[in-house]
């Protein structure tokens, strides 16, 4: 079955207008900052202006004396009142150095922007007045902001008591003992030595992130029932357990609510952060509601920074371009590493694990070292950890193709995993699909042959156009097999479906979406299953008091795991409803003899025999008399979905650019993505995910960069300096999913999507620029990709030619 074909009357596969949009276009959304509780106090953090310094003294007298100020707290005040991190529930099952930390700095500050004190006042304006009055005396310490310098002998040590700044290191291949690893490395050496061609390069990806438009926030109340916390979060259930541990409150006394509407997250709202801990603690201490609303400056200084990796890559190939061996010595810059769940290093760990992407590379030697520096910790960002790895390998493959004088598209295709399922050298399971088909669809869409002819003509006219390709085998949900080790959490998707006596359906999801359109997608699935209208389906998310336990809206799990749990819950309820119908009609049969369509439940063989969906629901819920023997009343069903294998989603990207070699300024002429999303639930929503993901990738590649100076001062804490692509800088992204195939591991055949989309972007764009400038022979192996960089490389090349 072609994944995109749908039958008339089907809801799955239809571009249904989103249920969310009426409220969101009329200003009726309920975002975090819109929730107000009378009497709320406002918390403002005082953040370090130093990158690395001992705290000599903190004078809070003037701040306390200001009218309207209720409390001022410092690290010294709270360290004895609450537990610090790490706490088991938010620590991965990996051996690593986990730094101890509290919500406020204790003894010393480790990055520019670290919270040092907090002021709680009657309003935000006054709290900010008071924050300016907190006097902190620092004794500056030597600063380390470079990851390689941080790992070198004699570097300033970020965390007191550590012998080095190495937080995490891993060798993914070779068996796990020093001897076996050495033997394996020798094997790779030999393969590289025997290869017809070897590419050795260093690839550097800068620090940038996803920066949702809505910053973070937390608000807490404390009463006899315990703590209720509203947090901008992707994982309320995990936050609840973590808060219970840190604040030493029984978990049944903690309720976490992620607001129904969240202004984007893209990974940034997935960690367990220090700020909400303090908000909850202060609500308990003061016995009043306390709220913190993050400023953009705080956001850019302390979260939302990712990527920041170096990959030292060697690939060897035979004369046809088939890769025979790969080595990568990767390094990541993890800042202070202080953040629950991910601790910053989980992203680069994962990035290296998925380095081989969708390529069949038989022999690999992959290692990573993660350094602590005087910067903000890495926080997850869409294309989790993989953005840099994707850039490195897909750039290396282009260099390989150039060396062999084969079209990079051909080399790429030749190395794609041909037979699925497949497990990579690092143990990543590729489940199903046809990668070559999806890739071929892309080369057809861009008319590669035609393009090459046009390129030759253009060059003759002095115009420099180029095309670049890349691929991404991205997360489609994350299974427990992966998530338990990586984040110490289960991977299942969870949903409760309730058919009420009026025939309306309520869905309860423990995750916390942030704009992905779950209300609509889940409603489409429910409507499809029950044969009702999506308008009759409502969704409740993100409240630990009312929803089933789930790990959170992460890793493209909405379209893979959660939706599957919803479908399975519907199917269980359908079976029950069908059984009752057969029983009431006194017809012999099995549930599959019964159809659900157009608001009716009826015998497929005799459509006149049946009942309205609502009437049948009412009969089961409100009049549970004479039910089939042994059947329980009610129509609530909770399902936990876990696919039998880990799943991926494959996509291939192409960028076409024109470059002005005099200035290095380039223009994107086309950007085309061919993806396999399996069965597509809502095509327009899917297209939106692709457009947004690609533009985030382009913006990261071209514009965004977190810059620290040599003293660790963060220079990009405003949107004036941290540049995000605007509409005029972007073009219409072309999204295609016709070459996809239904996923055999999910009830609907759907695959998760969205998370990994930025991943292939930097390589596709950079490859295109280098292709356009092929006559000049420059290599861009470092991001960001800016006109200045391109010009500089062209100058250097010209100079070296003399």
């Amino acid at each position: 079955m072609n994944a995109h074909i749908r039958n008339e009357g089907d809801w799955v596969g239809a571009s249904v207008n989103r249920k969310e949009d009426r409220r969101l276009t009329t200003g009726q959304g309920q975002y975090f900052a819109d929730k107000k509780i009378p009497g709320t106090l406002h918390l403002v953090f005082v953040r370090s202006q130093q990158a690395h310094a001992r705290i000599v003294s903190i004078n809070t007298d003037a701040a306390r004396a200001l009218k309207g100020v209720v409390a001022v707290v410092t690290g010294a005040d709270i360290r004895t009142q609450i537990k610090g991190l790490p706490q088991p529930v938010v620590v991965p099952s990996f051996a690593a150095n986990y730094p101890d930390f509290w919500p406020l700095a204790v003894d010393k500050v480790k990055f520019h922007g670290e919270p040092v004190a907090a002021v709680i006042a009657r309003d935000r304006y006054v709290a900010e007045d008071a924050a300016a009055l907190v006097e902190i005396v620092y004794d500056p310490l030597p600063v380390v902001t470079d990851m390689e310098a941080a790992l070198a002998e004699g570097a300033p040590i970020v965390h007191d008591g550590w012998a080095s700044n190495e937080m995490f290191a891993m060798n993914y291949t070779g068996g796990g003992t020093p001897e076996s690893e050495a033997a394996h490395a020798r094997k790779v050496d030999e393969a590289l030595a025997a290869a017809a061609v070897v590419i050795r390069r260093r690839f550097r990806v800068h620090r940038c992130g996803v920066t949702p438009l809505e910053p973070r926030g937390a608000m807490a109340t404390w009463d006899d029932d315990g703590l209720t916390a509203w947090i901008t979060t992707q994982r309320p259930h995990i936050d609840r357990l973590a808060l219970s541990d840190v604040l030493e409150i029984p978990s049944d006394k903690v309720r976490v609510i992620a607001p129904r509407d969240q202004g984007g997250a893209f990974g940034v709202k997935a960690p367990f952060y220090r700020e909400p801990i303090l908000v909850c603690h202060m609500a308990r201490v003061l016995g009043r509601p306390v709220r913190w609303l993050e400023t953009r400056e705080e956001h850019l200084m302390s979260v939302s920074q990712e990527r920041d990796q170096i990959h030292n890559i060697e690939i060897g190939a035979d004369a046809s371009g088939r890769i025979v061996a790969l080595r990568d010595n990767a390094i990541a810059d993890n800042g202070d590493g202080c953040e629950g769940v991910y601790w910053g290093f989980v992203m680069p760990f994962f990035g290296a694990a998925v380095l081989t992407n969708a390529y069949d590379i038989p022999l690999c030697d992959i290692r990573i070292r993660v350094a602590c520096t005087n910067k903000a910790v890495l926080s997850p960002a869409r294309s989790f950890g993989a953005f840099a790895a994707r850039f490195a390998l897909d750039r290396a493959i282009d260099l390989l193709a150039r060396e062999l004088k084969i079209d990079p598209a051909d080399v790429r295709r030749r190395n794609l995993i041909a037979e699925l399922p497949y497990t990579t050298a690092t143990g990543v399971h590729h489940d199903s699909g046809d990668y070559a088909k999806v890739f071929d669809h892309l080369t057809t869409l861009v008319d590669l042959k035609g393009f090459r002819a046009e390129q030759a003509r253009s060059r003759a006219e002095g115009r420099h156009i180029g095309i670049g390709f890349s691929v991404g085998a991205e997360l489609s949900g994350v299974s427990s097999a992966v998530l338990v080790s990586m984040e110490n959490q289960p991977g299942f998707g969870a949903a409760t479906v309730r058919v009420d006596p009026r025939g309306k359906v309520q869905v309860f999801e423990g995750d916390a979406p942030q704009g992905q359109g779950h209300e609509t997608s889940m409603a489409q699935v429910v409507a499809q299953e029950f044969g009702i209208h999506p308008a009759d389906v409502s969704l409740t998310t993100g409240d630990t008091g009312t929803t089933p336990f789930g790990s959170g809206t992460i890793g493209a799990r909405g379209g893979s795991y959660t939706v599957s749990a919803v479908a399975n819950a519907c199917r269980a309820l359908k079976s029950k409803m069908a059984t009752v119908l057969l029983h009431d009609l006194k017809v012999e049969g099995v549930p599959s003899d019964v159809s659900f369509r157009d608001g009716r439940v009826f015998l497929t063989a005799d459509p006149t025999q049946g009942k309205n969906f609502a009437a049948l629901a009412e009969r089961i819920v409100m009049a549970p008399l004479g039910l089939p023997a042994g059947m329980q009343a009610g129509l609530d069903q909770t399902e936990f979905f876990e696919a039998d294998v880990p799943m991926l989603t494959f996509g291939a990207h192409a960028a076409i650019v024109e470059v002005d070699p005099e200035t290095g300024i380039f223009k994107i002429l086309r950007y085309v993505a061919s993806d396999d999303f399996g069965t597509v639930i809502n095509p327009i929503v899917v297209a939106g995910q692709v457009h947004g993901g690609v533009v985030q990738g382009l913006s990261n590649t071209m514009f965004e960069e977190f810059v620290y100076d040599e003293n660790g001062q963060q220079l990009t804490a405003t949107l004036e300096n941290y540049k995000i692509a605007n509409a005029a800088d972007m073009i219409n992204i072309e999204s295609h999913h016709e070459a996809g195939s239904a996923c055999p591991h999910t009830p609907l055949g759907s695959r998760g999507l969205g998370e990994g989309i930025p991943g292939p972007v930097p390589a596709a764009l950079t490859n295109a620029v280098c292709d356009a400038l092929a006559p000049f022979g420059i290599e861009v192996n470092r991001l960001p990709l800016r006109p200045n960089t391109i010009w500089r490389l062209l100058q250097d090349k010209a100079a070296s030619k003399g």
């Binding site: 003293n711 001062q713 220079l715 405003t718």
Partner: protein, 165 residues
Amino acid sequence: MMNIEGTHCIAASREVVWAALNDPAALCAFIPGCESIEAHGPNDMAAVVVVKVGPVRARFTGRVKLACVDPPNSYTIVGEGQGGIAGHAKGEAKVRLVSNAAGTVLTYVVTSQVGGKLAQLGLRLIEGTARKLAGEFFARFAARLEPKASAAPREPNGESPVSAR
């Protein structure tokens, strides 16, 4: 971090120039916006300086120290201060004196760093301001040491006797 270099010819003897460079009261008069300098010990002073850039004012309180003192040839003057919400700043000037026929040739290399809000916001302002302040400092210095100064006070359009490069 930025570097500003300059050379200045002063019609006064090297000893006179050196003495002025070591006199807190004189330094206070030369440092633009300096409200006070108090000696705390040998080569160690506490200073309050108001830096004014157009309508933006920041008051820095901090330390001024002298290092690598080689009378009457050279020293390094290091200042660092906290400007409250505006951030913090640190600057150091390596000053060298060489006698010539006309008096003394003073060369300086100023390096400065700012942190906190200034570093985030003032990125493009600081370079020009630091140059201006360095220029003003040495222009005043020259003016003070040469009562009938041939060195005119700094003109607004950069036609200053200080050659800042």
